[in-house]
């Protein structure tokens, strides 16, 4: 990636311009044209560097309930349990991690009741009792901004 592309990536991660011609604003800062900015962004998207440009929301402030959950899944049931968990549209992240609690997922729903119901359903369908719910007690930092250097 060349320097202009890196500068552009660093620039548009936070404070993307909220004005009529946002790409023109970025163009002026980078000393290139508006069309060039749009083309570079298109290129960075198709090569998989940029996922999306838009808003990242605080689910709580939208009235939603969210939590992290961990479950102990027997190795031979991973695919089946993952399929069940991932079928919920509010499950946004799901990872296998190296611990006896080996499957970690986040779930967001319009109410706490819906989350409880979903988890109860997992317990019933999978016969797994070891599932813990880890909602945020206190938030100290959330800032997914990466400094793109080399």
């Amino acid at each position: 990636m060349n320097k202009t592309n890196k500068d552009l990536l660093n620039l548009i991660q936070s404070n993307f311009p909220l004005e009529s011609r946002p790409f023109l604003k970025i163009a002026k800062e980078l000393n290139i044209s508006e069309i060039e900015v749009i083309d570079i962004i298109k290129e960075l998207k198709s090569s998989g560097y940029i996922k999306r440009i838009g808003g990242i929301f605080d689910s709580r402030k939208l009235g939603y309930y969210s939590t992290l959950c961990a479950i102990k899944v027997p190795l031979d049931k991973i695919t089946e349990v993952a399929k069940l968990i991932n079928s919920n549209k509010g499950v946004t992240h799901n990872y296998i991690r190296d611990h006896s609690y080996n499957m970690w997922f986040t779930v967001i729903a319009p109410s706490i009741e819906e989350v409880k119901e979903f988890l109860d359903n997992i317990k019933i369908k999978t016969h797994i009792k070891d599932i813990i719910e880890l909602p945020v007690v206190q938030l100290f930092k959330i800032s997914v901004i990466f400094n793109i250097k080399e």
Binding site: L9, I12, Q13, S14, N15, F16, L18, E19, S20, R21, P22, F23, E34, I38, Y49, I50, K51, R52, I53, G54, G55, I56, F57, D58, S59, K61, L62, G63, Y64, L68, A70, A82, N86, G90, V91, T92, H93, N94, Y95, I96, D98, H99, W104, F105, I108, D130, L134, P135, V136, V137, Q138, L139, F140, K141, I142, S143, V144, I145, F146, I148
Partner: protein, 157 residues
Amino acid sequence: MLSCLDKKIIRKIQEDLPLVPKPYAEIAQELGITEKELIYKIKGFCDEGIIRRFGSILNHRNVGYKANAMVVWIVPEDKIKEVSKIMISFPQVSHCYQRPIFPDWPYNIFTMVHAKTQQECEKVVKEIASDVKIYDYNMLYSALELKKVSMKYFMQE
């Protein structure tokens, strides 16, 4: 409370901004409002904290951050405040939360640590540990990604 229009706007800006010279004008037109109104609304959501960040979401694995560990710590209750303050000062720490503990889960502080390599990640974590003087920690790398999507709000209404 969010109005019907607020929800319509959120439904649009949780998707991808159109790559045209006047992207807000395009969205505004679809919503039947003016460009000015839309920008004013988005700014309002940012000020209220409804929008945490407005900008590009990168694929961090593709931009070179391939080692991403969930590092969990056992921090005494009375030390949480000062320890978390030090932890969040590290630029490699993207998230830092307190979460509940369970009989078989003693870790109460969660941090996400990002680095280019696992060695680099471990080096950062050791540095954090010695700075906060907490040595009861565990690094849980993601061995496999089973799902990663962005949440779509207000889709059933």
